[in-house]
Amino acid sequence: MKRTAIGLYAIVTLALMGWGYYQAIYVAPEEQTMHEVQRIFYYHVPSAMVAFLFFAISLAGSIGFLAYRRSNPNRADIADAWALAGAEVGVVFCTVVLITGPLWGRRAWGMWWTWDARLTTTLVLWLIYVSYLLLRRFAAGPQMQTLAAVLGIFGALDVPIVYMSNRWWRTQHPAPVFGGSGDSGIKDPTMLAAFGWNVLSWLAWGILILGIRYYVERQQQKINAQEAQEALRA
């Protein structure tokens, strides 16, 4: 039953991805100033939104781990698995943002990178979560999960800074799609629909791989527990 539901969800997600791609490439009209290269936006912005959401999941998992680590070890393990899954999948989406952005910038601005507030804070966010993953990969000992949880909480503090950066400071980055000034955002309804479909499809895809990553981490925790038991017996 569970496998069927996951299989159905995966099929719906793939159909959504196909539909989102069709909307972005064939249905949405070409933007008048940036022309075809503007279509990168349909993958770039949804990826940023999904990355922020998954860093928030990582934050919740990290807080949960710190809250339960003494009182309920099983719940703490679950929270820790969510924290790791959120951070890792968030880094994947943030990498997409940091690669597609410069590709667009090279055509729109004539340069790959500029040290403006939005770009720099996003790079800092990516570096914090990459260091979180490196800590989890290479550190050992009972304090590793606690240290990672603290780093995860501090990393998530950068998310609102990234989001607000092009409101707080003068930046070269385009104005926000939602919640910006009166003349910012998408005006064409076809473009808005293509954007909406891509947000939905990337969110569905993100949830699918987040679920897989969570499952893999829980399996790893079970193997580690089994190995610890084996070591005690030996």
Binding site: H35, V92, L103, V216, Q220, Q226
Partner: protein, 86 residues
Amino acid sequence: MKALIKIFAIIPIALFLIAAYSIFFAPHEPAFNAPDKAAVVARLNHLYTVAAYSIVWAIQLGYVAYLGLKNSAQKQEAVRASRSLR
């Protein structure tokens, strides 16, 4: 299942190659008064869009392949651990 993981691993490499080819073999930016400027700019825009979409899928499918490989390694590890417990 292993074949599926291998396909997931090969597709990202192909997509990375497409992206690299689109960027590194793209024509040079045309001069301001070049007669075919509009055509070259349109070609460049197309190549960069292809590169961006290819890289996105290369990263996403590459990550799924990594998870698949990790999961199959875990299954083998679990079998080994349960055998040694017996």
